[in-house]
Amino acid sequence: MNKKLFIFSILVLVTYASYKATFYLLPNFIYHRFYTKSLEVPDREENKFFMLLSPDENARAVVKPNPDFSYGVAFYNLEQGALRISGSIPDSTYWSIAFYSPNTINYFVKNDQEFDSNTFEIILDDENCQQSTLPSPTKKGFILVRYLCKNQSPSEIEIASKHLNSLQIEAYSCIE
């Protein structure tokens, strides 16, 4: 009887632990699937931006896309050291840059109105680089730049494309 009760308790415990673990691990699993599928596309690699212009019904990589936005997307990797992320900022529409860790936590976001000029530079690092302007909680992560194209006109998307094309990720040498 005691043995049966013990086994039953073990099974209940395992069920509960799996239930809790699913909540904890699901974001990483979804992120990893997105990461793998995204980098299967030729010419895409870590530490390099690619563009997703004006999502429509064929945009199936991320649920609930906002069709008003064009996106600059990059997977960063700090294993080789700090990174310098730079680009231009539009002056007449909403724009933001957001950083996510692989558990999908948005640990940083800054929009166009919070920058002082029409260009930006962020030094991203996960260690003790003194010049770092943004500490990353993890070695790897995800950057999403949102550019609002309210009317989705060809001229608007062309301008968005120019801004998103200006996004760069370069290796950065920290000075001790």
């Binding site: 086994i7 069920t15 699913t22 904890y24 429509d56 649920v63 008003d68 989705q152």
Partner: protein, 196 residues
């Protein structure tokens, strides 16, 4: 061997219950607040694993609430699920935010195919109700109200095509909302969703 199989089955069961709970609207909203048929995350509490899992599942790469508020409706104002079997009308006023938009999604949480490629409306693309500026009773209106129509079939204006979907959802995004919005998440004026 039996014990091992039992453990594996229990692991699958635990995971299945968790996924089902996240998928089930009624069980996954304990950390959300309601404003009519709309629900919103008052805080993106990142320490709450269940909330983080839900966001990853239905709104991957959402921004924190200080930047954007996401109001979502999956039911109409009577509490019945939104479905393309029915037509709906939303009557709203301009939300207090730097940029706002309504977007409709299908059962799979993706944009709904349609010949016009219309997936939503924002402050620039929406057609406002005409306001007679010479009518003193209307002079207090800063901006017009608008009507949105959700239907399989073409509507004259502000038509959100609903395709063929058992479950629809509408997301109202408010980027950089006014401070008053945060103080009144559950009482700011949001559109009723009326089945017509």
């Amino acid at each position: 061997m039996k014990l091992f199989i039992g453990i594996v089955l229990c692991m699958i069961l635990g995971g299945g219950i968790a996924i089902n709970e996240l998928r089930s609207t009624s069980k996954s909203v304990d950390f959300m607040e309601w404003n009519g048929p709309w629900r919103v995350n008052p805080t993106m509490d990142l320490k709450n694993n269940k909330q983080r899992a839900l966001i990853a599942l239905v709104g991957l790469f959402a921004l924190r609430e200080s930047e954007v508020l996401y109001y979502t409706a999956t039911v109409d104002s009577n509490g019945d699920k939104l479905s393309s079997e029915h037509n709906y009308k939303l009557v709203g006023s301009v939300p207090e935010a730097r940029y706002w938009s309504y977007t409709i999604y299908g059962t799979d949480d993706f944009l709904i195919p349609n010949p016009d490629k219309t997936y939503g409306f924002n402050s620039s693309t929406i057609a406002y109700e005409p306001i007679d500026s010479l009518n003193p009773e209307m002079s207090h209106l800063k901006a017009g109200t608008y009507e949105l129509y959700i239907s399989k079939n073409r509507q004259e204006k502000n038509w959100l095509p609903s395709g063929d979907n058992d479950q629809l959802s509408i997301t109202l995004r408010m980027y950089n909302p006014a401070p008053e919005v945060y103080k009144n998440l559950t009482s700011i004026p949001l559109p009723e969703i009326i089945r017509i």
